[in-house]
Amino acid sequence: MTQSSGTVMASAAVANLPGTGLGASGSAGVGVPHGAPYVARRRPLRFGYYLGRLVLYGIVLAGAITYAMPFVWMLSTAVKPGYQVYLIPPVWFPETYQWSNFWVPWGNLPFAQFYANTSLVTFFSVTGTLVSSSLVAFAFARMRFRGRDRLFLLVLSTMMLPNQVTLVPLYLLFTKLGWINSLLPLIVPHWFGSAFHIFLLRQYMMSIPLELDDAARIDGASWIDIYWRITVPLARPAMGVVSIFAFTASWNDYLYPLIYLNETKNFTIALGLPLLSSRYVTEIQQTMAQTVLAILPLILVFFLAQRYYIQGVVVSGVKG
């Protein structure tokens, strides 16, 4: 049990290496406060102190193993041949590795199509969110116009609205437009800005000195120039956070694709994945292998952009 989890954690540690600079960079993240004053206790308690630390590390490790275990279980199942899956007690390392779990289902269901659809939706949703939300955020952060603060309050209040209320009207609207069973309803709404991302970008853009705009204005730059040449490049970290959030949301989205798509060839991976367990005799090792593939992009992006991720989560929570 501990053996197999060790391998996963070791690989996580390797993948984590570039991220260890996180705390040191100290830029508003939740990194380790390296310079924090640390009062060492040099009292007779020393033994008790080390015992306490040992217990603490023990609990943290046990918790981490528990948290990682479902992933390990998934990976272990994903490489098993069918006859090794249903064993009591279970085996963590199968006698033979059946790598074909990763590609055999591609012959039964159009997985290539699912991934193509998902990539299309994700790419154009993220682009749309970035373009539209940054434009709107720019106006709210850098420009002066009548009703600005009231409108911004309106933006914020739409965040509270549960999207169930607009579910049916939007469905009927897209039916009227003939967009049902196409990827359009999953993409187009993202080109009109999203309140949460507008808020996030606006907060960041507020922190850029206004003098930059003034100087550029004197040099004859238009607002579009300022937006494109000054604010957007300087707001890159916030844009990074927004793209990660938008990417994850699009990739994981289930309810909207479920409503808008009804032909298998148009499915995203979120809709395609459960077909494995309903359409044929369930081959759980194949389902697990495909689940691994489906979450791989998410995990990859997380490790590549861990800093943005963690800062983004924290920044978005600070408003509370």
């Binding site: 009062v39 709107v136 509270m160």
Partner: protein, 286 residues
């Protein structure tokens, strides 16, 4: 000029939010399905909800889920954050492990846990069996299906954990040291110094968690489709059934507004209650 910049949001707001809401309100007062469009019925759809057994079932399931997942998620997330805040090196590594489940959500997590909680061959029941405990039948049982969904949500509580960690790191160590010198023990320091100082974070998490738990859908739908015997029929699942499987658009719209009202009431009550237990440094109160 500025209006040109905010035009995307403005147009989107008018169509996808304000327009859609108005239309939803209109639909909720009509007897509508896909073929026969609208016959005005006033508040009949709203009254109808309160005569439906399934409606109360859905409310009950949703409340039960919320009641389990919010306290449990809070305690687990806070406990992990507090452990990691004890300078357990390397923090980035542990944090990654505990946060990773939150990165993958939705269908993949549901399928993964469906297998982990498989009554016969799943990991959890095999472990329980090994230590001599009878494993529940999880998603095949009426009593254990919701606890199963709760378990999945608590596993994915990484976002809360990160926020608590950030909150804890903002608590000044001097204050804690001072109370230690004054003779407070570890529990007293936590109870009277640390905990009050992170109540704003707790408040934020609890509010967002309650809102989210009232809207839970994907896990329950993928794993059980609301079953067994409607044991996991959450509000949104009921709404989904009524609107997109039975095409009762009018009734479903009324349901959506009822759900909205419930969420609004709970948020308001929490906001009101916050002045009693949320401590804002500098004495600022809302």
């Amino acid at each position: 000029m500025a209006y040109l910049f905010i035009a995307p949001w403005l147009v989107g707001f008018l169509i996808f939010t304000a327009g859609a809401m108005a239309f939803s309100l209109y639909l909720s007062m009509n007897d509508t399905d896909l073929l026969s469009m609208s016959e005005f019925v006033g508040v009949k759809n709203y009254l109808k909800a309160f005569q439906q057994k399934l409606f109360f079932k859905a409310i009950g399931v949703t409340f039960y889920y919320t009641l389990l997942v919010v306290p449990l998620g809070t305690i687990v997330a806070l406990a992990i954050a507090m452990m990691l805040n004890q300078k357990v090196e390397p923090v980035a590594f542990w944090r990654t492990i505990y946060y990773l489940p939150a990165v993958v959500s939705g269908v993949a997590v549901a399928l993964l846990w469906g297998w982990v909680l498989n009554p016969e061959f799943g990991l959890v029941n095999q472990v329980l069996k090994a230590i001599g405990l009878p494993g529940p039948r999880w998603f095949a049982s009426e009593d254990w299906a919701i606890p199963g969904v709760v378990l999945i949500a608590v596993w994915g509580t990484g976002t809360n954990m990160l926020l608590y960690l950030a909150g804890l790191q903002a608590v000044s160590t001097e204050l804690q040291e001072a109370s230690r010198i004054d003779g407070a023990n570890a529990w007293q320091v936590f109870r009277h110094v640390t905990l009050p100082l992170i109540t704003p974070t707790i408040f934020f998490n609890v509010v967002t968690n309650i809102i989210a738990s009232f809207q839970v859908f994907t896990t329950a739908y993928v794993l059980t489709q609301g079953g067994p015997n409607n044991a996991t029929l959450t509000m949104v699942l009921y709404l989904y059934r009524e609107s997109f499987q039975l095409f009762h658009f009018g009734y479903a719209s009324a349901l959506a507004w009822i759900l909205f009202a419930i969420i609004l009431i709970f948020t308001m009550v929490l906001l009101r209650s916050s002045s009693f237990w949320v401590h804002y440094e500098g004495g600022l109160r809302r």
